[in-house]
Symmetry: C2
Subunit: 421 residues, 2 copies
Amino acid sequence: MENNIHQIMQEIGNQAKKAARILSESSAEQKNQALLAAAQALRTQTAHIIAQNALDLEAGKNKGLSAALLDRLALDEKRIESMAAGLESIASFPDPVGKELTQWTRPNGLQISRISVPLGVIGVIYESRPNVTADAGGLCLKSGNAAILRGGSESFHSSNAIIACLHQGLRSANLPETAIQLVPTIDRAAVGEMLNMVGLIDVIVPRGGKSLTERVANDSRIPTILHLDGNCHTYIHADADVDMAVNIVQNAKLRRTGICGATESLLIDESIIEKILPLIAEKLIAQNCEIRGDKTACAIDSRIVPASEEDWGCEYLDKILSVKTVSGVEEAIEHINKYGSHHTDAIITANQAAAARFLQAVDSAIVIHNSSTQFADGGEFGMGAEIGISTGRLHARGPVGAEQLTTYKYVVKGDGQLRAG
Amino acid sequence: MENNIHQIMQEIGNQAKKAARILSESSAEQKNQALLAAAQALRTQTAHIIAQNALDLEAGKNKGLSAALLDRLALDEKRIESMAAGLESIASFPDPVGKELTQWTRPNGLQISRISVPLGVIGVIYESRPNVTADAGGLCLKSGNAAILRGGSESFHSSNAIIACLHQGLRSANLPETAIQLVPTIDRAAVGEMLNMVGLIDVIVPRGGKSLTERVANDSRIPTILHLDGNCHTYIHADADVDMAVNIVQNAKLRRTGICGATESLLIDESIIEKILPLIAEKLIAQNCEIRGDKTACAIDSRIVPASEEDWGCEYLDKILSVKTVSGVEEAIEHINKYGSHHTDAIITANQAAAARFLQAVDSAIVIHNSSTQFADGGEFGMGAEIGISTGRLHARGPVGAEQLTTYKYVVKGDGQLRAG
């Protein structure tokens, strides 16, 4: 069986490589036509997709999946419409490929330009959410990359129904179906194969929980674009507007607790903590949010429980907030760079110098002044759909949209120049 | 001993991480001052460096190093002056850090900008050339990155003498010496340690031969910027200017045969091969270049020896050229994408449509029209010094200079915006 999977995956890789060549030469119109037709197919096939999804849900219940996992897995008309609208949104953005990024002429007359080109073949490994099939497939297509999608076994029937719509879109635009392939087996060996397909897959993007991402980070022989933790901080500086700070913290923590941009830890200057923490605690506790604080915080409100060292490094993804008192912006920076995950961190202050210092020195993909960390999202950035938020440093940092799924080549034009020396 | 090396390397990594924070906040002036002072120190210390280099050369001779390796290792006044001038050139370029790469405002008033920042800590693993110590150290410094340099054991004394000059430069600019550290042991275990220093080293750059690069590609748990083969092609299209083609091929193959941008394989349209190959063969064979050709090529000149399948994928780095006949631009593209190394490939033609097709479809970091592949070089591109030419697709492609040793962060400025929904 394992040998069989090796052969299946090699064949998929070879097909993807061929498709990538074709995609890299296809026009923006052709790719957009495929996206729009796929969106239409999702709408037409809604009943079928829901029926296939029901098979996954039934199997999931029998397997004893948690209510949260079953909810992620579940598709209804609204969620399918949202996938279709997502593909249309991807189509509406400018083509990220073939752009002249920069251009200059050398003294010897050589004209050098840097032109955006697709990365090649992108392998996406994800878990239960079936909508990733449409989002990731659409983003790869828009950026001219062939996609090999390996969805979670729980969503196998749903993903197959969705991929059929993407294939319908590709066919209608005269593009090969192999441009977006779904791994046709739920055998976990397929993941190991993907991580070793050097020369056939150019980039691996894991989308899912920590154990998946860490496995990919450790085992992949192929370059990766990773999203690790989102241990995000909001820091309230002494010169913060109090109302603004309270509102931002409430939004940053509680708007949605399960997204990576949710604030997990609140830092407050000691000079204003007695004034501001009671207001925040009141609001958050009323919304059933647990607060874990350092000594100073605990002394302010008896409902605040003591935080342990572990809390500072924790991505709760839940209605829990840790609170730490700091002496000022330097200690806040120090704390965030030590315990944070270099994802998204915010400062609330009316003091421009403190803000500038924070934005410069906090080493995170996204740093925010006077707003909510929940804005850490490709859509909110105006970049359209995203395949994740990179916490790595190479290639792409922050939201990874179609533009970030490209690389470049240098095009040099001469008229017979020879190199001297 | 191995445990000891583990401790040494961890300590170096921790020091580098601290230095990286300081460097990321240092001004362009401060970094440039360090570079200029280091250049001056190299000049002042020339006699000492040459004396230390003599120790390496003596040891190398006793070890039986080849004449070519000994030449790479050897330093004289001219080569030291060239290192010093290289550092001054790096200083003269614009600061790559802190640049606003792009900026936009969202409908809700959030101002988003993408700002260039250093990568962090860069580990450079290289072989016998001691000048890499100065070049790599200088480029990392310019781009605000801390460097951990692991030079070849053959150049240990020379590299130590050079690093002392870099440290003198750093001190004079009030920057920590730990910004550029040379691994203080020739034990090979240090390389293995570096490839596993996740969280302490952000990027690994190998500079050296195939076996080093392949080892790093296979073993590194840290993202890499790799330079693999430079199997470069020159393709002479039917509509090429004959004189231009002959001159370019001669330059591309023979100006220097040992650099990665040297042409290794020549493709010629069948309609002009009888006319043009005799002219090329005449020039190249007169300069002792061996030509290995396909059947058509061999039939044209009896001094051309038959090429094997292996020749098409070979980076000779020597006075050898393979020659293949193709039916036209499509076959040339096909051949290059199959056998090439995605480094640098050129087309010679007066036909703009053929040129455009080639430049679009050849999947290489650098594609050239009507000039020599030997221009594949950061200096020739006007980018200044380079740490290598990336044949990977993520992050940087082609020449990797100071600008390519940066990443970016998003800076978001608001006035209390909350995320809805």
